[in-house]
Symmetry: D2
Subunit: 229 residues, 4 copies
Amino acid sequence: MSKPLCVIIGVGPKNGAAFAARFNDAGYRIALLSRSTSFSEELASSLSDARCYVCDVSDPASVASAFSQLHADMGDVDVLIYNAGGGSWQTVEEITPDDFERSWRVNALGALVASQQIIPAMKQRGSGIIIMVGATASLRGRPKTTGFAAAKAAQRSLAQSMAKHLGPSGIHVSLLIIDGSIASAESAEAGRGERLDPRDIAELAHYLTTQPKSAWSFEVDVRPSKESW
Amino acid sequence: MSKPLCVIIGVGPKNGAAFAARFNDAGYRIALLSRSTSFSEELASSLSDARCYVCDVSDPASVASAFSQLHADMGDVDVLIYNAGGGSWQTVEEITPDDFERSWRVNALGALVASQQIIPAMKQRGSGIIIMVGATASLRGRPKTTGFAAAKAAQRSLAQSMAKHLGPSGIHVSLLIIDGSIASAESAEAGRGERLDPRDIAELAHYLTTQPKSAWSFEVDVRPSKESW
Amino acid sequence: MSKPLCVIIGVGPKNGAAFAARFNDAGYRIALLSRSTSFSEELASSLSDARCYVCDVSDPASVASAFSQLHADMGDVDVLIYNAGGGSWQTVEEITPDDFERSWRVNALGALVASQQIIPAMKQRGSGIIIMVGATASLRGRPKTTGFAAAKAAQRSLAQSMAKHLGPSGIHVSLLIIDGSIASAESAEAGRGERLDPRDIAELAHYLTTQPKSAWSFEVDVRPSKESW
Amino acid sequence: MSKPLCVIIGVGPKNGAAFAARFNDAGYRIALLSRSTSFSEELASSLSDARCYVCDVSDPASVASAFSQLHADMGDVDVLIYNAGGGSWQTVEEITPDDFERSWRVNALGALVASQQIIPAMKQRGSGIIIMVGATASLRGRPKTTGFAAAKAAQRSLAQSMAKHLGPSGIHVSLLIIDGSIASAESAEAGRGERLDPRDIAELAHYLTTQPKSAWSFEVDVRPSKESW
C-alpha cells in the first residue's frame, strides 16, 4: 500500500516547515506548494519523500497547473493544508483596492481553487481532509486589519460552507484559529507559553486528520498559555 | 442651508426604492447609483431632488468615476447606503472562481471603494454615516452560499474595521443583518409578519442616521415576526 | 382609549430614569420596579402618570407579587424593559458561589420570571415588547467578569429562546448590548462621544417599540463614537 | 512516580464511561463523581484504579465535600472533566423558575464550584487542565432550550473567564461544543458518521490534555460527519 499524500500550500520556516515535518514523521509523502521553491527545496531535502511545486495561490490558473502536475507525479491527495496567508496592516484610509484584493486572493480565493482541485477525487473515495489556517482576524476586524481580516472572514465562511456541504460525502474540513504570535521552533518563549510553537500547531493539525467520522471538529482555536485574549 | 445628501448604491424596486423614498421624505437630496439607470430614472422622477449615476460596483474605476461626477454635481455626502449585493446559490462543487470573485467584488470590494470616495470629506467635517446592507449569510456559511456568504462575511469584517477606525473621527459605520425574505412594499405578508417590508428596513436605516455620537449602533439584525431562526 | 403601560425594572439615575422619561414623553403610563423606592418615588413625581413598586428581582415570589399588584392597579403591560443588572468584579479565584448565584438571579432568573408574568396577556392580545439590557459581557467572559458575564450570557441566551418562541405570537423580544460606560445625562463627555448618554439609549429602546411586525430587531449594540472596541 | 489523577463529574454510560476508559488506558487513576454510584461502581470495577464519590453538583456543599474526601484519598487532581449536564426541554411559557435554576446549577454553578476545589493546588504546581462539556446550545438559544441553553451559555462564559484568567498560571481550560446526538459506543451509526461516538469525544478530550503550553485550544466543536448544521 502506498504512503498517503499530504499537500501543504504556503511553505515558510515556521508553520509550513512544521506541518511538513509532522506529516513526514507520520509516514506521509509531502507536496510543498509555494510561490518560490528557494525555501521549499531545502525543506524537501530534509524529508523522506517530498516534492516541490511552484504555485501562486492568487492565480487560479497557477493553482490548477500545480495540482495537475502534482497529481500526475504523486496521485490522489489525502490531506490538504491551506497555509497560504498574510496581508497588509492598513486602515481603510490607507489600503488600496489592489492590496484588499491581494489579501482576498491569497487567503480566500486560493483556498477555494486549491480545494476544488481535489474535492472530486476525495468525494469519489469518500474520504480526505482539508485544513485551513485562520487567525483571530477570521473572527473580527480591527482598525488596521482592513484587508487581512476581511480576507480571513471570507476564508472562514468558505470553510463553513465547505464543511457543511462535504461532510456527508466523507470529506472533513477544519479551520484552525491561530491566536498569538508564532515563535521559531526552538524558541524558549514557546516553552514558557509566551508564543506559539509551530510544531505544536502541526501536532494539532495532525490530530485532526486522525478524527473518525463519528467525531469531527470544524473550528479549533489555539494560543499560548500566557496570551492575553 | 442646503439639504443633506444621501447616496444609495444598488437600486432595485424593494430596498433601494424604499431607502430613496424614506430619505427623500426626511428632506435629503438623493443620488442613485446602479449598473443601469432603467429603474433608477423612473424612481428618481418620484423624488423631490434626485439624480442617477451609472456605477458598476465590481469595478473600482467605475465607482471612482461615478463619485467624482456625483461630487461635482451634488457636493459632499452625508449618508451612504451600500445596498449592492447578491450572489450565486452554489455549493463549493458548483461555483466557479469567477462567480466567487464576482460575489466578493459586488458585496465587499465595492463597499470598500465606495467608502473610500467619501471618507476624506466626512473626516474633515467630523460627521457622516455609512450603512452597509448585510444578511444572515454575513454571520455563517451554508452549503449553497459558498460565494454569497464568503462575500458577506468579508463585507461584515470590513465594516467592523471601518467602524472601529472611523468612529473616533466622527464617522458612523453600521451593518444591517437582514434575516428573511423581503416582500413587495404593499404586500399583506409583511403586515402579517411573514416577510420583511422594505419600508420598515428603510425606517431602521433612517433611525441609525439620527443616533448622536453618544450612542451609535454598529450591528443590527432585522427579521419578520414569524421568521423561524 | 387608555394610555399604554411601560414597566421598567431596575431604576437608577442613569438608564432607568432615562427610560422612564422617554416613555413618559411618548405618552406611556410608567410602572417603576426596584428594590427600594427611595429613588423611584422621586423619579415618579417628575412623570405624568407613574407608580412605584418594590421588587427584588432575585426572588421569584417578590417579582410575582409586584406584578400582581401592578396589574391590579394599572392593567396589561405593553412594554417591559428589564434593566436590572450588575454583578461583582471578581476572578474565578475570588468569586464565591453566592456572588455567582446573585449575579445570575439578578440578570437572568429575574428576567425570566418578570417576563412570565406578562407573556400570557401579551400572547392573548398578540402584541407587546420585552427589552432586556445586556452588555458586552453578554458576548464574552473576561478574567474579572466571572459572575457578571456568565449571568449576562445566560440572559442573552434566554432572550434568544424567548424571541424565537414568542415572535410568531406577536411578542417582540430585544436585547441591547451596551458597550462602554454610561455618563450622567447632562455630561459633556457624552456629547463628545466619549461616553454613552442614557437618554440616547432610551431613545433606541423607544425606537424598537415602534418597529412593526414586518421588521423586528433582536440584538442591537450601542456604544459612544470614541469607544475602543 | 505516582499515576496522574483524572476526575470525571457526571458519569453515565456514554460520555462519562468513555472518558473514564480513555484516561484509564492512558495511565490515569480515575475518580468518578455522580449523584448516585449505582452506575459508577460498576464502571469503576472495569478500571485499573478508580474510586467513586457521591456528588450532587447542584449543591456547593456536596461538591466541596466530595472533593475533600477525594483529595484525602487520592491527592491532587491533574485533569478535571466537567461532564455534568442536562436540562429540561421547555419553552419560556412552560419552564418553571425551579427548572430554570436547576439547569443553571447543574451546568454552570457546579462547574464553578468543582473548579474552585482544585484551582489552588493546580496554581501552586503551575499545571492542570479543566475540560467542560458544552453543546451547540452553549452558542445559541432555541424555543425549547430556554433553560438548557441559558445554562450552557453561562457555562461557556464562565469557561472563557477561567481560561483567560488561569492560562498565565499554567492551568488550561477548554470547552467542548458537542453538536449532534451521541450513540452508544458500539453503534454502527457512529461508524457511518450519523451519530457521535463517545469514545471519539473522549479521544478529543485526551488529546487536549497533551497540548503543551505553547499551543492550547480553548473551544473545540465536534460532530458526526453527516450532521446537518
